[in-house]
């Protein structure tokens, strides 16, 4: 590789700095405002967290609505992720390792479902949920989220299963392991990066979902975090710094999860799209 001139090198680093400011400023600004008071924001337009007060965080954790919503979001995210992982692992296993009539059709349906965006179906699902009496329940949202995350998980895991050498499973079976034993003891450990990736993406998708939570669970007891934040704003008042404190609290677990699992997530996404 040829050596770059000093000037070119400087331009390169300058570009990196500009990109990073663009990417990170909104996040910094959110945290900064969450430590300010509403009135001082109007009096002192500054990007720095000049007041450094904790009162927004205190107000959040003292609010019953906030605690309920946090619990709802955690419950829905963890239950859906666990069940969704089981369903996706089984489905991806079925679609790659086993052979049976109609397998390709099942595979195609999964991909179409994966590509179908949620905004297409919220109207009929709202009607159906009302009829089944599962709107304004946690179980209702869990079921509906399952229908989003299972196609996503299956699609991504198919990529991981396909990368395994087929003979590996056959070798295990010759040694006398049953199909399910081979899945549990041989295949699952090998696709564990895929499982981590799907787990994180699934939990994130449930935690972030807004439209269905808004349409189906508007009652205070069943609101998830994003809906609770929406309801902070009333016709006469927008508590800006409080909203930013809620937002920071909602974002931190996801950001941590993402950076712990970054390697797996990136691998998962790339296995899905690049290798197809």
């Amino acid at each position: 590789m040829q050596k770059k001139s000093k000037k070119a090198k400087f331009g390169l680093y300058l570009a990196v700095v500009v990109v990073l400011i663009f990417v990170l400023f909104p996040v910094y600004y959110m945290v900064s405002v969450s430590f300010r008071t509403q009135s001082s924001m109007f009096m002192n337009p500054s990007f720095l967290p000049v007041d450094l007060v904790l009162k927004n965080y205190r107000a959040a954790f003292e609010s019953e609505q906030f605690r309920i919503s946090l619990r709802n979001s955690l419950m829905i995210g963890s239950v859906t992720t666990t069940v969704g992982l089981f369903f996706s692992i089984f489905a991806a296993y079925s679609l790659t390792i086993l052979r049976y009539r109609g397998r390709d059709t099942f595979g195609r349906v999964i991909i179409v479902a994966f590509l179908t965006p949620g905004a297409l179906l919220f109207i009929p699902i709202a009607v159906i949920a009302a009829r089944l009496k599962i709107s304004d329940t946690l179980q209702g949202l869990m079921l509906i989220y399952l229908s989003f995350v299972v196609p996503l998980g299956t699609y991504l895991l198919i990529g991981f299963f396909r990368n395994l050498v087929g003979e590996l499973e056959e070798a295990a079976r010759i040694d006398g392991a049953s199909r399910l034993q081979a899945l549990w003891y041989i295949l699952l450990p090998l696709i564990s990066p895929g499982i981590a990736s799907v787990g994180i993406l699934t939990f994130t998708a449930c935690w972030n979902e807004y439209l269905y939570a808004l349409v189906l669970n508007p009652s205070p007891e069943f609101r998830t975090l994003p809906v609770a934040i929406t309801f902070l704003q009333t016709a006469d008042e927008t508590p800006i710094s409080l909203i930013m404190a809620y937002s920071t609290i909602a974002a931190v677990p996801i950001l941590i999860l993402f950076f712990i699992g970054q390697r797996f997530i990136v691998e998962g996404l790339q296995t899905g799209a690049v290798k197809g």
């Binding site: 040829q2 086993l98 991909i111 807004y210």
Partner: protein
């Protein structure tokens, strides 16, 4: 005797495989029939009725669709969807590719920068758009403060409630949230282009631009296609990006089709909102068709 035995054995294994196959695909199928297949079917049916909340409604044929075609708001929403998606996708592509090329260079701390660029993608959408709404705020928002301090403007601009600024502002926020996904994908694809090809091209006297056009670009074309199609499907349906910033306003300046459908639903017009949601299906169908063709080819 011996061969007969293995034959029997083999067909038994085959049967077992089939049974296990159906058993393991069943949970996923069950969920998808209930919350994908049936709702889709029901939505198509409802779009031909005048159903409202609480009332069954009657068959009205194509009345909802012809009503929509003549509804100026629906037309605006369709046009807005096209503008919004085109701009957002071009922006994500350009920014995603440029940043990928930048972070592919040999610079210090490259892995850290690559991780940090992912932040917008990792940030929950409802958080990201709440922050952008604040950034655009005319009284206390960072963008107005910044522009006034450097003297570009004299008085604050109400970015989200000004009919001319609302759409570009929402587009910028959506690009910010979405471009890192393209960057990750492009980085992976660029890495899969063999280094030797670049070196060979360099010794043949190609400059950086020529090398990009003739070596990198063909190598990442399949990824560009699939990322473009998947990302277009999600962008057409960005509900929260708009609902949480402008709510579709001012007037209907930023109303795209999912917002239109949501507003019809909150007006209890189920038949009409179903028809509005389905208006996207032809485009989605084309995109899905191409993605599937692409995926099958790669197999």
């Amino acid at each position: 005797m011996f061969t007969g035995n293995t034959k029997k054995n083999r067909s038994r294994v085959k049967l077992q495989d089939s049974l296990l196959g159906y058993a393991t695909i069943f949970p996923a199928t069950f969920v998808l029939i209930g919350f994908f297949g049936y709702p889709l079917f029901y939505e198509v049916y409802a779009s031909f009725t005048n159903k409202t909340v609480g009332e069954a409604g009657n068959w009205v044929g194509l009345a909802n669709y012809s009503y929509l075609i003549h509804d100026p708001t629906f037309r605006t929403a369709s046009l807005n969807t096209i503008i919004y998606v085109t701009c957002v996708q071009s922006g994500k592509f350009l920014l995603g590719l440029s940043v990928a090329l930048l972070l592919q260079q040999q610079i210090k701390g490259r892995n850290i920068w690559r991780a940090l660029v992912l932040v917008p993608y990792a940030l929950p959408g409802f958080v990201a758009y709440a922050v952008w709404r604040l950034i655009y705020n005319p009284d206390v928002g960072a963008l107005n403060i910044f522009l006034m301090q450097i003297g570009v403007i004299d008085s604050p601009i109400a970015f989200l409630s000004n009919p001319e600024w609302a759409m570009p502002s929402v587009i910028l926020a959506t690009i910010w949230k979405g471009f890192p996904f393209w960057t990750i994908m492009f980085l992976a694809a660029l890495q899969s282009v063999p280094k030797e090809l670049h070196e060979a091209a360099a010794t043949d006297g190609c400059n950086a631009v020529q090398r990009f056009r003739n070596v990198s670009l063909p190598g990442i074309r399949p990824v560009i296609l699939i990322v473009f199609m998947i990302s277009t499907i999600t962008t057409i349906n960005s509900f929260e990006a708009i609902w949480l910033t402008t709510g579709g306003g001012p007037g209907s300046a930023t109303t795209i089709l999912p917002i239109f459908a949501y507003k019809s639903l909150t007006a209890f017009q189920i038949g009409q909102s179903a028809a509005a949601a389905l208006a996207l299906v032809p485009v989605l169908f084309l995109l899905v068709f191409f993605v599937m063709k692409r995926l099958n080819k790669d197999k």
